[in-house]
């Protein structure tokens, strides 16, 4: 498994554990008085599970497993920049929801979108190179 995939999958696992523990605290709050008042963290739970867990996992597995033209992945700069953008955006969005800073949430989600777009560009370039090579081999 390439190093970028390892980082992305492990980052997604950290978010899974953090999001699951936060979700468990939220769901337990009716039975545990000490946990009451956590409702404001529902948005952080959603962000951690959807972007942190599922999106980063999908990016990590895609970078590992999508077809490679001639057995080589394109230079990983775009994919790594995309992964960094998503991770930084996620951190900002979660921090913004926890500290009630809507501007930070907006900036974080914007950064997540830019990161996802960069990663998507890497995927498009990679698939296009693979398609061209496959077409050349067939002709």
């Amino acid at each position: 498994m390439p190093r970028l995939s390892t980082w992305l999958v492990r980052a997604s696992l950290i978010c899974l554990v953090a999001g699951a523990l936060l979700g468990a605290a939220l769901l337990s709050s009716p039975a545990v008085p000490a946990l009451r008042g956590l409702e404001r963290l529902v948005a952080a739970h959603v962000e951690l599970m959807l972007v942190g867990w599922l999106m980063q996992l999908a990016m990590g597995v895609a970078y590992w497993i999508l077809p490679r033209a001639g057995g080589k992945r394109p230079a990983g700069g775009l994919a790594a920049a995309g992964a960094a953008g998503v991770a930084a955006g996620l951190a900002a969005a979660v921090a913004g929801t926890v500290t009630h800073a809507p501007a930070l949430v907006t900036a974080g989600r914007g950064l997540e979108a830019v990161g996802a777009a960069l990663f998507g560009l890497h995927v498009v370039i990679r698939l296009e190179r693979w398609r061209r090579l496959a077409a050349e081999r067939l002709s």
């Binding site: 498994m1 999958v9 492990r10 699951a20 468990a24 039975a31």
Partner: protein
């Protein structure tokens, strides 16, 4: 595909259908579930935990570089889906009744699901670096 992966994927598909059905019931004015509280979070968790996370757990166990995990993947399966069943049953009842007993059922559901996901992360962490 290992047996535990097949069981995960089949259960995930059942959760997908159940989540979509709950979505129909939640959006059906005057339907058989009209007035039942908490259907929206039940739907979201059937789809995100039961369908997506269960599917990921099953496929990851099959796809990621192999390692001897023993019975741990089965423990993840049992804890995750036992917790989800308790939540699906417990959340509407607790919201309707406000009973302390059902609040404790929800807390048990939370502990089971969190335990499953912590064990799953522990299984996958070394396999992601192989």
């Amino acid at each position: 595909m290992p047996r535990v992966s097949r069981v995960f994927v089949r259960t995930a598909l059942a959760c997908l259908l159940a989540g979509l059905a709950v979505g129909v019931l939640a959006a059906w004015p005057g339907g058989p579930a009209a007035g039942v509280p908490g259907l929206e979070p039940v739907r979201v968790h059937l789809l995100v935990v039961g369908w997506l996370t269960g599917l990921v757990a099953g496929v990851a166990h099959w796809l990621f570089p192999r390692r001897r995990d023993g019975a741990a993947p089965w423990a993840v399966y049992a804890l995750l889906y036992a917790g989800l069943v308790l939540r699906v049953a417990g959340e509407p009842v607790w919201l309707a009744s406000g009973s302390d007993a059902w609040a404790r059922v929800l807390a048990a559901s939370a502990v089971l699901q969190a335990a499953a996901l912590v064990i799953f992360a522990g299984i996958l962490w070394p396999r992601a670096g192989a």
